[in-house]
Symmetry: C3
Amino acid sequence: MFSRRNFLRASAVSMVGAGLVSNASVASIPEAPTQTSPTMVAPVLPGAGRPYNPVATLNGWTLPWRMRDGWKEFHLVAEPVIREFAPGMVANLWGYNGQSPGPTIECVEGDKIRIFVTNKLPEHTTVHWHGILLPNGMDGVGGLTQPHIPVGKTYVYEMVMKKSGTFMYHPHADEMVQMAMGMMGFFVVHPKDPRQHAVDRDFVFLLNAFDIEPGAKTPKNSTMLDFNLWSWNSRVFPAIDPLVVRKGDRVRIRVGNLTMTNHPVHLHGYDFEVTGTDGGWVPPTARWPEVSADIPVGAMRAIEFTADEPGDWAIHCHKSHHTMNAMGHGVPTMIGVDHRDVVHKIIQVAPDYMVMGERGMADMQEMEMPIPDNTLPMMTGRGPFGPLEMGGMFSVVKVREGLARGDYKDPGWYKHPPGTVAYEWKG
Amino acid sequence: MFSRRNFLRASAVSMVGAGLVSNASVASIPEAPTQTSPTMVAPVLPGAGRPYNPVATLNGWTLPWRMRDGWKEFHLVAEPVIREFAPGMVANLWGYNGQSPGPTIECVEGDKIRIFVTNKLPEHTTVHWHGILLPNGMDGVGGLTQPHIPVGKTYVYEMVMKKSGTFMYHPHADEMVQMAMGMMGFFVVHPKDPRQHAVDRDFVFLLNAFDIEPGAKTPKNSTMLDFNLWSWNSRVFPAIDPLVVRKGDRVRIRVGNLTMTNHPVHLHGYDFEVTGTDGGWVPPTARWPEVSADIPVGAMRAIEFTADEPGDWAIHCHKSHHTMNAMGHGVPTMIGVDHRDVVHKIIQVAPDYMVMGERGMADMQEMEMPIPDNTLPMMTGRGPFGPLEMGGMFSVVKVREGLARGDYKDPGWYKHPPGTVAYEWKG
Amino acid sequence: MFSRRNFLRASAVSMVGAGLVSNASVASIPEAPTQTSPTMVAPVLPGAGRPYNPVATLNGWTLPWRMRDGWKEFHLVAEPVIREFAPGMVANLWGYNGQSPGPTIECVEGDKIRIFVTNKLPEHTTVHWHGILLPNGMDGVGGLTQPHIPVGKTYVYEMVMKKSGTFMYHPHADEMVQMAMGMMGFFVVHPKDPRQHAVDRDFVFLLNAFDIEPGAKTPKNSTMLDFNLWSWNSRVFPAIDPLVVRKGDRVRIRVGNLTMTNHPVHLHGYDFEVTGTDGGWVPPTARWPEVSADIPVGAMRAIEFTADEPGDWAIHCHKSHHTMNAMGHGVPTMIGVDHRDVVHKIIQVAPDYMVMGERGMADMQEMEMPIPDNTLPMMTGRGPFGPLEMGGMFSVVKVREGLARGDYKDPGWYKHPPGTVAYEWKG
């Protein structure tokens, strides 16, 4: 699953900065595993250190670490990556260790953490540890709390985890550009006592957004509003992993937002409570019952519910444009214009002519329409009862009976758990 | 008020789907009342079933039902409608039972509900019951939990109301288009004990938004951001019903948001608490005092206050563009440019020439300016002290002494309650 | 600091309106101090009336008052002003008493307040006292609760402060235009008992936004979304005052939003609680721990934390476009396009040719690029470790040891407190 590439061979690697470990040498840098697949890697139980209940990262993975003299050592590599948004479309992004978003970092309250960050981007960068209480020099704001990490160099961050919670990491250097290119990741600190805040299933994902013209592969990085790919962990429906749980499970879903607008994440079939933010755990007296958690930009919300009603429950951003893919933006309104006769004539001479929408757009799901290379149809996905007519920020919580706890160790059940109807999203 | 049209004559009516009542026949489908007026219909006290305190729907009405073998039966008809946004402007929308939004559905916790949905649109549809706890097959997600309802067919949803609260209904099929066209409605489930959560006045409305070019009548349905009609229940100021209450009343206002951005609903003269969401009732320990309730997309907020201060209290979205009508978008800035002399010469040869704004835009309220047919001026409305210079998402909570509880049964008082200054919004 | 201009000479001054004090004459109008500097004026301890702990207004000041027969009398003058957004850029705005935003008004729960408002704008106006409980006739909604204040006239508002809290003032007349031009201010009502809600440092600022084309000086006033200057109190980084506090201080930051979108104000290094809104104080049971306070439009959030960790902690809006200045909008994406060779040739014939971004935009910070007069670079500011690459809604909470309480009386320490590294933001 991971490819182990040896950083020691890379002559460009050296270490700089205030965070430099005094007796560190090139030979002491831990390996930097990399990931090429956009499919969820099953959660990894900790092999060393304090025990915890690992999270499952939608279409992602967790960064392995090594223990060294009582410190957990991680190695992030900032670098250009290729990310598949869905079968049929890839993009040139910037990320960490082969993917955008980067791998989830997991550790435990009280842990001593050392993170090596190697910069393989074409420009300088830093990493800010969003929400974590740490010494000022470790805060990662380029120019303010540290020099930028030059191209080809490695910087070392050290911190002791003061509290449990759900945090994020992203650059604080040329920030608008680097985040628009996909540089971000989750950072989960588990409670020292694994019974605290324990749930049965614990999912994490980031809301992100890109502006990639149909046919292009590189995001425009000065877009403020008109994004056309609204994604979860740099994936769009129908390629976002489902969230599979057992009937009766206590479920937590932690969602961070690094786009440029609020996203109300709406869950069907259940009401839930927000039990945590990137600032900590919400006390029970302060919780609201909700069905749509409005996730502000630069914030995280953890929602919890008990999965007592079996079925396929949609979970999606409730801004209806955000459940459309790129081709849904800028489509002219044809409702009320009946031009079917004209169209049949046009098609005889121009077979690629696209006609749609005079009776709504549901027809598009049934038609085979030519679209540019490397883009995605506006609406897509096929469920057990026909086309889903969705895209973007949409997935399904699959609540199943007959799943044994042991099944959780098999990554296969994430995609096709026992009891799942054997349908595919692809139309 | 209602026109009773006989569906039995419509040869296209037949029933399909998983929700089909096995022994139902065409003859057993309840009537589908329709409404042509955009003025509030006074709340209807329940004639049968459990007692409850009905809500008042701004510029709307409540769907009658029939009892049949212990089930409350409703009939929604999805269809093209014509909606007056304000005198002087109508639009071709899609809605339910003659209007957009559709009628409010009211029932009681514990009720067994059966809803017949007939599709008279030019394309397939479904209905999703936003926030309601129900079996997966009744969730209304086309393709995922049911087949779409084809044109001309009727689908039957059945559910037992597990809890009280404020919910919404809208399509989950070609969703971006169908919601952009106005398909949505409120769904209120009253507590089994009518003393629970009881208030004196209980208003409901939906925030929606449309992009209709001045002079046109059909919304553009792929707009993501640049809407030009920001409306409450598909109405804009000065045509939104006022919210009339007695001095001393406990007042609840329930607001749902089905636009594409947050709307901070600001009430003058009072602070209030959010007491409910579409996920349930907010416990008292968790409530905040507020004067602007930020309503996320795909969410509902119920606010409550005691109307102890008489007067005309503005209530509006605090995004100042959302209290403008279509003509307010894209107006060039002329502040600092004094072109009055030039203008007088231009007007001699081109009498329709519009000049405005070099000293601000307040002049526009006083001028008679030609605007395209079927559109609304940017700012309008006249109050007791002059022009209000508002549009869009704006109304007034009128707190009046001297209203008797009995007056509530007269729909007239909603518009002109005893004690109301006899002014009109129209300029 | 203040210039005392004598209104009595201005022949245009006279008083009108429902709020007119019956025995008032022109001679009885209090002075209207004016402010020309955009730098923070140190908080003023109250010389008369009930004692309170004053607030510090970022890049602003507090309006002096006079006591007269048991009433605190203030005088606001609505007028065109020139505001420096940052060295190198000024704008023609509308504001109060020489500045935009207007001065902060401070008083105490129980106070009797009289506010004279003189209109020196080219069009009519009113003042709405956002969040304050008052008689309907004092609410300031032009046309609805009062006649507009004509050009050259003075209107008098009177109210008794029913409760403590954080409020705002702004026009409710030609509102979209007048707020887009910068008319707004803070209004803080302190608790009657100064030990209630007491903190050591109490900062206030307003979020506002402008659309001023590079090279122009007057905001476009019909912009709904595409603002290019995202500002705090009409200032942008690197010209926003830092928030300087002692180690161990209890700190409150009150932020109001009068833009057209939510702003998540993110503080590094700390988690905090929202302890107040413009509706009142949030009870402890209802508070959430947070690191990003999402401030809705037309709302205020007061956040509180204990400054126990020294350092320079960034505080900023987390929408990454909002920490860019005007030149960052609409920049084409050049990542992956290596055109350095071509550029060198172009520059020989066109020395002003701007090339940037093919390896990200961090280079821009290091280059000297020509930009239009009266605009600001996209990213700017230099900290102790190099360029900050920020703009817009960004500042720094400087937590310092070695500050004595007495130092607070010296306005100089706000900019350069003892213990501050002697760096400047300017690159």
